[in-house]
Symmetry: C2
Subunit: 403 residues, 2 copies
């Protein structure tokens, strides 16, 4: 049992050595829409980006910066994705990094840039400049988590601590994104599917930090989906201030990883639960696969199935759709060994339907949290994915979103 | 220019040497739900099946029969998929073939069996037996096309002729399926995504017939999607009676293939247009790809994108979603060479947005048929896919479908 302490109402500034703030640039319709996150001197940073072939300017620029320096600050805007904006879009992303660097007294290469919002419009640079100049750094984590929201209905942030080497190490994080959320099905690939900023006061050298981030992202942000549509702007960033005085290395990595993964999973569940139009959080646990890649493919194919997602919205225990979705995942398995359950209710065992109580199945679907567990009966690997149901409001939100 | 003559209101019995009929077995809520299609003596047959790992009993049985004999008849029921029904399901599929064979004076191995409807319930064999005994064979193609409908709102059938070697050759067909329609993204793989029966009076030996069917299916049924959910029961069957006296071989295959493909594409478009909740038929043409597989992946990823499909339902020319979907297809391309249009309206050229007239774009989306054309600028290969928009009614139909 891992003894993790959750820190209520805290986010990216919960660990020692971080400050953050936000301001309104009038880019989105209401509220703050530009934010900064800053780590103390001598911090290290790591990041992963979307695998979409069409990458937004801030993604291209941040990847360039990551290759030149260790990042220690993030500047983000909501309301405009700065994507499909050509050469001028790249210049604007560069200017955004420079404006943040000047304010924070850093080199532009030490700043990572994120943008989220509508595709195909140039950034309003005057508004961005004005907002950056107004930001006051502090520790209002909720305000900062609100600032990068787009169609999100709630801010998503959390923080947790645990003892490592006799001292307290904290990880904080915030995430946004409730639509255009779909992990690319190249399992374990280093990419994120939304914006997520993670912070820790552990001391971690860059190479290890990047590895830890990639592993945590694979089992969390890379395993959450709303619509399967991988965004052009997805970015996850992890900054480590070192302020706790605890150095993470090969020896104590196994103590730090569960803390980081717990924060990432918590944020991933918040994303799925707040998915566009969602009424339920759905967790899909696949066990008995020949490989983790196989298990992830099956879990995500079920998580992306419109027929499964609409059935759960309709509180219909249509288990045939679960069998169908598992079977179309592109993973070889013998259906004669397939078993699955809804909550605690077994529906299909070793390739044969189980005569379950329909009323109990319908009752299980009344809950806000729905659990689907499968066993492929082929091996020892497992994976968990998160999604939401597919409702009228999903269509409404996305059909009425205006270009 | 290929001179194809369409034969209005004709279907599977339009070619010489076929008879078909249907009857009501009270398996679905209303109308005929069991049907037979019979080819003349000395006919040949070919078939392709779903690649879903969870295959329904009739799919497993039909594949077994195809390996033993040349099929010359089809028995189909709607309302029950006979899938996830274990050993008893296989026995029921066998009995269904035997009942049809006895009536038609054939060997059971010469009969292919198809079922469509709800998953996980045993076939009501008494009803099936009763219906088969009542079927009178004739040429009411519409009645037969209606009999295998499930959530379809219109019967889908057509027929066309052309001259080959101085004689008239006809191809007829019928298809069903408006949900759980999603081609498995293994391009060119021999599988169909719904039930489709094709007939011709050409004379074609089995191996060539199978090749011709696989090629035609790849460019038609394998390229249509409603929800991306590949069914457990998909089957396409082609029967050739030889009654026209025209033998198809390597020499004149190039004259027959476009006729077969035209009928398959026509049926595929009917499927997309009648997709669950659809208000529009969307055609996605991808050109300039490095390979046909690349082109197909991009076309189908756009066709399956919930964000693209909801935008078109909302008449919103949200071209950023087209760029996003193209980029997430898992196909390498340089976005600097990407161009695309909505109808005749160019929106994105060589990686830069085009300043198009929003009113004209919105007008293009008022049409019942929407065309999206992309050029990846990477090579000479192309592919076309068909889909429908994603509406409130899609959610309604699938959330209220009862298990």
């Amino acid at each position: 049992m891992i003894s993790i302490q959750w820190l209520p109402h805290r986010g990216v500034t919960a660990p020692e050595g971080f400050a953050a703030g936000s301001a309104r640039g009038e880019i989105k319709t209401a509220g703050d829409d530009v934010a900064l996150v800053l780590a103390a001197e001598n911090s290290t940073g790591a990041a992963v980006f979307t695998t979409n072939q069409v990458k937004a300017a801030p993604v291209l620029l941040s990847a360039e910066h990551l290759s030149k320096a260790s990042p220690c600050a993030i500047v983000v805007n909501a309301g405009n994705a700065n994507c499909c904006t050509g050469a001028r879009g790249m210049e604007n992303a560069r200017q955004m990094a420079s404006l943040a660097a000047r304010k924070l007294k850093l080199q532009p290469e030490e700043v990572l840039v994120c943008s989220t919002g509508i595709i195909g419009h140039q950034l309003p640079m005057e508004k961005i400049e004005n907002a950056i100049s107004q930001i006051e750094l502090g520790n209002d984590d909720e305000a900062v988590a609100r600032a990068f929201m787009t169609t999100d209905t709630v801010p998503k942030f959390c923080a947790a601590s645990r003892e490592i080497d006799g001292k307290t190490v904290t990880v904080g994080g915030q995430a946004k994104g409730v639509g255009m959320i779909g992990p690319k099905m190249a399992p374990l690939a280093p990419h994120a599917t939304m914006l997520s900023f993670l912070t820790t006061d552990a001391q971690i050298e860059r190479e290890l930090l990047q590895n830890l981030l990639e592993k945590a992202v694979a089992r969390s942000f890379n395993s959450v989906t709303v619509d399967g549509d991988t965004s052009t702007n997805d970015t996850a960033i992890l900054l480590a201030s070192g302020a706790s005085g605890v150095q993470i290395s090969a020896e104590n990595e196994a103590q730090f990883s569960p803390l980081l993964e717990a924060v990432c999973v918590q944020l991933s569940k918040k994303i799925a639960r707040d998915g566009e139009g969602a009424t339920k959080l759905i967790e899909i646990r696949v066990a008995g696969a020949r490989s983790e890649i196989d298990a992830q493919k099956v879990a995500l194919t079920i998580a992306n199935s419109p027929l499964v997602k609409t059935a759960i919205f309709g509180r219909d225990p249509n288990w045939g759709r679960i069998a169908m979705a598992a079977g179309r995942a592109g993973v070889a398995f013998d259906p004669k060994n397939l078993s699955f359950s809804l909550g605690n209710l077994e529906m299909f065992r070793d390739g044969e339907p189980v005569d379950f109580d329909l009323a109990r199945a319908e009752a299980a679907l009344e809950d806000e949290n729905v659990l689907i567990s499968l066993d492929l009966g082929e091996g020892d690997s497992n994976w968990t994915a998160w999604t939401c149901d597919f409702s009228y409001d999903y269509v409404k939100i996305n059909a009425e979103y205006h270009t």
